[in-house]
Symmetry: C2
Subunit: 227 residues, 2 copies
DNA sequence: CGAAAAATTGATCGACATCAATCTGTGTGG
DNA sequence: CCACACAGATTGATGTCGATCAATTTTTCG
């Protein structure tokens, strides 16, 4: 079974929405949540949105598909720091250092909106609301996030599934049944464990009727947020 | 041996410096890095700077002493998400939700500067540079951070020590010899492991002549950043 | 000084890592 | 279309690092 790329989502449910609106990227009437303009960028699975160290010129908003944010160690081995889902904004660290701090790689075919920093900095000195919207956006991103790679393997795997479910739900997608978008190896990397361990835990959750699983396609049954 | 609280540091080496300057909190001449005005807040070890869910009215900059940023689960058990050292800015998530997202607790006697959000939002609509400085500040904080709670216990403990050393160095403090500021229990919590394991690894690093250790006072010998 | 908290050390156990083999699905070239 | 190759995933056997249980020592502080 071939899975579709995750999304697309409506502009209305994107973190960058307010900023786009103030930049005039979105029709004010916004008929049914579709974007009006804005540079769309598409990536094939496995290709990079940007690399660590590269001069930063744009912010990106994920519209469709999933990506991974990766730290590449001195020896070249990679560590997945975060997975990025539709509605996320990428490259926000660019305002400060003018350089991207991580590699970001498409896990699936990806479509995202590109917003040049120049456009933003030109305008926020004139449009007060835009500065406020940017401060808002960055503020939310600045809260320390609890790592998924903590506790027992069961907690980690369940935590990842619930995290993804919540994100999708929040963006108006299906939070009960979705594609993981990642291989077991990538999940293992993200959760700081091994591929065999991930596989075993997924099968265990399946046997316990917490989830349905077929390849990367999951359906959450009794598994629910711990909140 | 009683350790002194970590710091104080000079305003010049604080993340909030530029913002303070633009708010007129610091003398422009800034003779020898001392602050001129600004509400100073002091905390005794163990007391809270603020709590999760509390209405947020201020940003804080740590001037002296260390704190921990804590997630409190539904069942009341706490998880240390980050440790905060002099020069760090706390409460940046306040712009967005107007509510603090974590508990922040002093590990030592702490002195910090308090900057009311009202003062900032009043002024950044008028002073363009201030908006830019805030965007800069938040931008840096928005980059995903690699968790210390990954890899072998040796990597985690060494990672913590090097992380602290680098922070102190960056703020003009001694990065070779400093106080951990935390109990072994708190280190264990932060690194997602157990107190006995932390103790054993610290002793091991000592036996291997990587560090000197006396209570919470560490000196790094051969241990160096992996960079 | 004496009590309580923090830290160290030892013995044992278990969850996850590691090593190894097999299975499944997907795309490719004959 | 089928055989094959290859990557991804699953499953089993065994080893090991860190958790757990327990006791003692050291430090802190009233």
């Amino acid at each position: 079974m071939t899975t579709h790329p995750t999304g697309p989502i409506a502009c209305r449910s994107c973190d960058l929405h307010e900023v786009c609106r103030l930049c005039g990227m979105i029709a004010l009437g916004e008929s049914r949540g579709l974007q009006r303009t804005g540079a769309l960028k598409t990536l094939r699975a496995g290709t990079r949105l940007y690399r660590a160290g590269e001069p930063a010129h744009s912010l990106f908003a994920v519209r469709q598909g999933m990506l991974k944010t990766v730290d590449v160690g001195t020896d070249g081995e990679e560590r997945i720091v975060a997975v990025n889902t539709p509605g996320d904004v990428l490259g926000t660290e660019a305002f400060g250092k003018r350089i991207y701090s991580h590699d970001v790689v498409a896990l699936q075919p990806v479509v995202c909106c590109e917003l040049p920093l120049s456009l933003l900095s030109d305008q926020y000195s004139r449009v007060r609301e835009l500065a406020a919207a940017l401060i808002n956006l960055l503020s939310r991103a600045s809260a320390p996030r609890t790592s998924l790679a903590r506790g027992s393997i069961r907690d980690r795997v369940a935590g990842l599934l619930v995290d993804l479910a919540q994100r999708f739900e929040q963006r108006g997608l299906d939070g009960r049944s979705f594609s993981l978008g990642m291989t077991r190896q990538e999940i293992a990397n993200l959760l700081d464990t091994r591929i065999e361990t991930v596989s075993r835990m997924i099968q265990k959750l399946h046997r316990e009727k917490e989830i349905e699983i077929a390849g990367q396609q999951v359906t959450l049954l009794s598994l629910k947020p711990a909140t």
